[in-house]
């Protein structure tokens, strides 16, 4: 197929960016979206234009490195990561608009690459269990109901890609945060620090410039791991509880 690509190019964080238009011919429908960009980059390199910078690493949908706004949708038209999106989801002759994640919390680094280090800083504020290496009790000493363990796993599958933020009109990272609060809150190991965790993570989230949640649900619709919206209800409940406990 032949495509017209409108792509955001920005030399670095401090320079202004703009949309550039490129033509790409003979795209195979078996290519992944990122392989299509690889082919475009080969073409640009041959023509003497610097290739387009974009993040990707595992290219199998699990590391969370990739993520593009494709025709206005985070990760494009399918419920998957950008690396697992294939060109058969597009039509010959189509014009595709490709932009970086759009959020104040994720400043652009170059072209399609953004800085998501705010997510790491949110985790630093309590997205863990305080247990030093070697001090763990025998694994079978605390049984966990299967239902809780399964749900904890389901929400722990978050890959930290940032699509939830990119999709949210408020630029909120509540789904990302709620997934971690819910994961650790469902397990006995997560209880001792439960109040402190939610209070500190939410404070960091707001400090980073992410917006508040108004229950639109665009985040969960864009999430490649289908993290459910009710993790945000859990987040709010945990926060209320923590405040009631005097935090």
């Amino acid at each position: 197929m032949n495509l017209t690509l409108k792509i955001w190019r920005q030399p670095d964080a401090s320079s202004a960016g703009a949309m550039h238009t490129y033509q790409l011919a003979d795209v195979s429908e078996d290519m992944s979206f990122l392989e299509m960009l690889d082919v475009l980059n080969e073409q640009l390199n041959a023509e003497g234009e610097e290739p387009i910078a974009f993040d990707s690493d595992c290219r199998e949908g699990i590391c969370g490195a990739c993520g593009l706004m494709i025709n206005g949708d985070a990760h494009g038209p399918e419920v998957t990561t950008t690396c697992q999106l294939h060109m058969r989801s597009f039509k010959d002759g189509e014009t595709i608009t490709i932009e970086p994640w759009r959020s104040e919390g994720f400043p652009v680094v170059k072209d399609l690459i953004v800085d998501r280090s705010a997510f790491d800083r949110i985790i630093q504020q309590g997205g863990y269990v305080s247990v030093n290496t070697g001090s763990a009790p025998e694994a079978h000493s605390v049984p966990v109901p299967k239902e809780d363990a399964d749900r904890a796993f389901n929400v722990a599958t978050c890959i930290g890609c940032g699509a939830c933020v990119a999709a949210c009109p408020n630029g909120s990272a509540s789904l990302f945060m709620g997934a971690k609060i819910t994961h650790l809150g469902l397990l006995p190991q997560g209880q001792p620090e439960r109040d402190e965790r939610v209070v500190n993570m939410v404070a960091q989230h707001d400090f980073e410039g992410f917006g508040g949640c108004t229950n639109i649900g665009a985040c969960t619709a864009a999430c490649p791991k289908e993290i459910p919206l009710d993790v945000i209800s859990q987040l709010n409940k945990d926060l209320r509880t923590a405040i009631r406990h005097g935090h």
Binding site: P11, S28, E29, D30, M31, S32, E35, M36, V39, N45, A46, E50, P51, A53, D57, C58, R59, E60, G61, I62, C63, G64, A65, E78, Q84, H86, R88, V109, K110, I113, D115, R116, S117, D120, I123, Q124, Q125, G127, Y128, S130, V131, N132, T133, G134, A136, A139, V142, P143, V144, P145, K146, A149, D150, A152, F153, A156, G160, H183, L187, Q189
Partner: protein, 664 residues
Amino acid sequence: MSHDTVMTADHDDAAGYYTPGSPLVDTKAPDAPIAERWETRKFEARLVNPANRRKLNVIIVGTGLAGASAAATMGEAGYHVKTFCYQDSPRRAHSIAAQGGINAAKNYKEDGDSVHRLFYDTVKGGDYRSRESNVYRLAEVSTNIIDQCVAQGVPFAREYGGLLDNRSFGGVQVSRTFYARGQTGQQLLIGAYQALERQIAAGTVAMYSRHEMLELVVADGKARGIIARDMVTGEIQTHLADVVVLASGGYGNVFYLSTNAMGSNVTAAWRAHRKGAYMANPCYTQIHPTCIPVTGTHQSKLTLMSESLRNDGRIWVPKNQADCDKDPRDIPEEDRDYYLERIYPAFGNLVPRDIASRAAKYQCDDGRGVGPEVDGVRRGVYLDFADAIERLGRDAVENKYGNLFDMYARITGEDPYAVPMRIYPAVHYVMGGLWVDYDLQSTIPGLFVTGEANFSDHGANRLGASALMQGLADGYFVLPHTIRDYLADGPFEPIAEDHPAVVEARASVEGRIEHFLTVNGERSVDSYHRELGNIMWEYCGMERTEDGLKKAIDLIRSLKDDFYRNVKVLGSAETLNQSLEKAGRVADFFELGELMCIDALNRRESCGGHFRGESQTEDGEALRHDDEFAYVSAWEWAGEDAAPVLHKEDLVYSAIEMKQRSYK
């Protein structure tokens, strides 16, 4: 470029390609019965008192299971840690992609498992080419890993009673694999990442993401730091410390196409190799039989699908070449060749990874592969679930393999419930890596190596669910003990930024970058990488021969030469520049690839993932030669134009008897 020619034994296929060196011995494993070695070593390794730990600086490169776990643990202990990763966040390291599970000798199933059995299975699985002291210790600490991960909140699969579930994995007869659906690596890595982030918040660990180590600083015979490039600003930075740990993963991307992440590379390890760290068994590569085939030259990576598919799927190709482009459903039963069931009636589709992989290659070489033609050959075989669906029903198959079928459908656009899947082998893991002693210390004092980056535990073949075990064993429970014996002599005398070793290392990095940006040739970095990968896959892949390997060495040398003269890297050194990053990595892959071929040439036997066409039984099975090759090949860099030096570490087994495997 000239290469020294040296005399070696007449029967040595690699004669002329290397220089024989002195034998190598691990002096760190205590001379005690195998079950007491680790306790003895932990007791004998000197302690560093908590007040002194604050004065000691540790650099850790890589934040996968082996790096993040070590950084968190060393931070908790009170050392000053600096951690580096090339990704935008430590959570993205490629450990995250491991699917199957993690082994541990908990014996929760009371099915006869024990530390000794896990040790035995791992040595046997490695085809008797691993060091037994290290493997025994790995099995010993495996149980601590599960305790630690559960305490961190890793959501392992559980039974209805609330206790941890186990499954059997990779052809062993006990159920010792802990898992979190098909995403065990992700959950374990997030556990280690969270422990790491906790230490970053506590101020014991400083994290440098989007930083790539480009050179090792070796001053006065000790590893004392690294030169790193800030991948956003291009700044070349010097980081100095008392000790350096490489946890930088494996080098499967030397094959260009592999199941590794796009950024996985050998540069950190290779730069250390060039500074004096020996590279051990570089030719030991694991090739996984059930990956999604290549669709065209645009292919950038390969995706693995769990081996569990072979439990119910039947593998076949058409008997006649003329049928290869037909719809498989139109090929009648009598025209199908279920070749694994035919050749290996006892194990059938469940033969080990290397046998299944090689058999698929032979069918395709024979012109009976299926799927699209790439470069004139169809490289794929069918994995057919029609019988399973008829026997168990579609729902049962969907319950068992639904997520894998979905993944396959998403990537290929085909419905595997209706049409047989197509699979082909792909490079998945490397058992080779930097040589380390029992303390995980390389041949450079003060340089320690953990996880896939070292060679120590898997011999010539790694068992399923053992990579995660090794990464976390090294990082949480082994390195933090062994490194203190080295650090007990520290803090070492500070070295200045104008120390000749620092100046040399920085100049080397800057010179390389300058070179790549000024060649201004005709070909992209990727095009060279792809061509190198084709050479490696063709001649140093599933089957290696003397002629093929010698041809590969010539091809690699001339391609490398061309690369330095004709590569085209645009952009500048002062900004984020992905072509420049790749150029440095590919340059190192050339040198590694050549060494892998020389190593494979020297080892004229078949063992584990290394199959030499000249060394097979009448039935085409791998044939080991324990009388000649029961050693670790540890290669020393001898200089740009010199042949590498081979040091042999003899493998001695006191607790296990060497046997030849058979799967017929």
